[in-house]
Symmetry: C2
Subunit: 330 residues, 2 copies
DNA sequence: TTGAAAGCGCTAACAA
DNA sequence: TTGTTAGCGCTTTCAA
């Protein structure tokens, strides 16, 4: 079953032309005499020749591949990002080299360093501190970063987490909630923005904020933190979770503990993952436009590669999605 | 900011040795005199040299990359497959080149043909008919296929859908359900197996099966099909859905229509996606071991590449996950 | 243990 | 329009 894959030389020989001519024909680089064109065409068809992208890439330095690094593909937020980015890549004739760092920061650097040599550009979602990421810039490869950057000179795409959080908190306050709590994930960069957004809004309304933290941005952590939050002397009347996964876990556990959502406690999250629609009650959330973020990031990195103009920073507007997991208190 | 990336020649020159020596050193191909080894080592560190994987690949013909093609990355079933496959790949020093065909069969062939030249092996989840896939074999690239194959000579990994469906049906029958229906997705290969599994079990129990079909394996389709199923002269007392997404959509819509799950109708799906735990009621399902399928497929393709022995066909045992969306009728 | 030399399959000047 | 030639950065005989 071993086939001897035909090379450009085989085609050239069989067609009685030079390899350069075949190369130009394959790349549609110019016009040819009808005779030559016909011969080459038929020889290629007959031999089943296809150019070797590796050899091609080595010379041109372009791989038509974009590296995309995410923290955990099984989190629907990242899945949507991949979905959006992949669609745009495909439309432009690129493929996506996926890297799932599995929430393991130690993996990121070696993985990305290796990646950078095999792709034309990269899109990076990282949990590293900004000051620890200078090496990414040194990689000297068009790279788009997810999130806000203060010093690092990298183009980026970010959701407006502070704004989204503020909007959500504003809504909870307007609904008459008095004892609002935040269940965060402090290892994330975005956690602080969300926390600040909620806190700023509550402060403006003379309300205090209780905070809790988790070890991972997962439903299981939401479940685990439920009893500490709910079974104290008094419990919050509204809980903002770092993301929808946590909110899902929390709601489930709260119901097991005998609490009613939203009667006893309103619950909300971030991301607007599709599954928030299918819980009972459906989940109020801040739509960070994950898929759009993926689209924007891919468009940006492709623009950079093509030398087209593009903004250094793209901020994506969040949207508040109101569902039945939050309810007016008066 | 343009850095002149050092090549093996730069290293050789700076170290006063030949490129061949550097190459051997980098690949740890043999022993060296301490002096040479030390020099090369320090020069490499100083120049920040890293070998160009493209050039390397062109010569060796190995890219350390596995292509993985799925139908829709936003379906958690596929997400889990990717997760499992990616983990194994990483452990073996490989990366995953992801292809999301977006449930578009026309895309598969060109995408896979292009992919095949850039990877050492492929793992393919397809919606194409077996007889239309001979070209995959012709690609002459180690390829593992997801699903059962009758004629095509390709190693494969499959869930035992018939078995899982039978188990689920058996359970529903044992619970005393009399009017069981199946909400399928006939475009999928696996649909027939699941349908047969349910039907075989019901036939063995002298029970009839009503069937319905959908256009896509999605929650939205589950929602859409709810009224046709529930608002006829009589409705089923149990519904088996093609997958969990459909079941989630169906349950939500049924509740909106005023039905209680499982009191009015038991509902079950396939895949055991993590979100089935967070609905009310939580979803009974057949765990097809998606992540394990990804692991098995990646292990298989790597084994083939390494020339290690591996079975042509791996069948993965399903597991019935009982939750509150199904209930005894007597 | 080390190096010289011949490519891998292709592209990119430049000439013809 | 077509061909010649010189590599891209690396590995791999084979000889020293």
């Amino acid at each position: 079953m071993k086939k001897n894959i035909p090379t450009i030389r085989d085609v050239a020989a069989a067609a009685g032309v030079s390899t350069a001519t075949v190369s130009k024909y394959v790349n549609g680089a110019q016009k040819f005499s009808p005779a030559v064109e016909a011969t080459i065409k038929s020889v290629i068809a007959q031999l089943g020749y296809r150019s070797n992208p590796l050899a091609q890439s080595m010379i041109t330095g372009r791989t038509k591949t974009i590296g995309l690094s995410v923290l955990d593909i099984s989190n629907p937020h990242f899945t949507s990002i991949v979905k959006g980015a992949n669609r745009v890549a495909l439309e432009h004739g690129y493929t996506v080299l996926l890297v799932d760092t599995d929430e393991n920061p130690d993996r990121e650097r070696p993985l990305l360093e290796a990646l950078s040599r095999r792709v034309d550009g990269m899109i990076v979602f990282s949990r590293m501190q900004e000051q620890d990421m200078d090496w990414v810039v040194q990689l000297d490869k068009p790279t788009v970063y997810f999130g806000r950057l203060t010093d690092l000179k990298l183009p980026s795409v970010s959701s407006d987490d502070h704004r989204g959080a503020y909007m959500l908190a504003q809504h909870l306050v307007a609904q008459g909630h008095q004892r609002i709590a935040y269940l965060g994930f402090s290892r994330s960069r975005r956690d602080q923005e969300r926390l600040d957004g909620v806190r700023d809004c509550l402060a403006a309304n003379q309300l205090a904020l209780a905070t809790f933290d988790t070890h991972s941005p997962s439903a299981l952590e939401g479940e685990r933190m439920c009893s500490p939050i709910m079974l104290g002397a008094s419990h919050p009347d509204a809980l903002v979770c770092y993301n929808d996964l946590m909110a899902l876990g929390f709601m489930k556990e709260a119901q097991i503990l005998g609490f009613r959502v939203p009667a006893d406690i309103s619950v909300a999250g971030f991301d607007n993952i599709q599954f928030g629609r299918y819980t009972s009650p459906p989940l109020t959330t801040v739509d960070l436009q994950s898929e759009h973020m993926g689209v924007a990031a891919m468009e940006k990195v492709l623009a950079i590669i093509d030398g087209k103009p593009t903004k250094d920073f793209t901020l994506i507007e969040p949207q508040l999605i109101l569902r039945a997991s939050t309810v007016a208190r008066r």
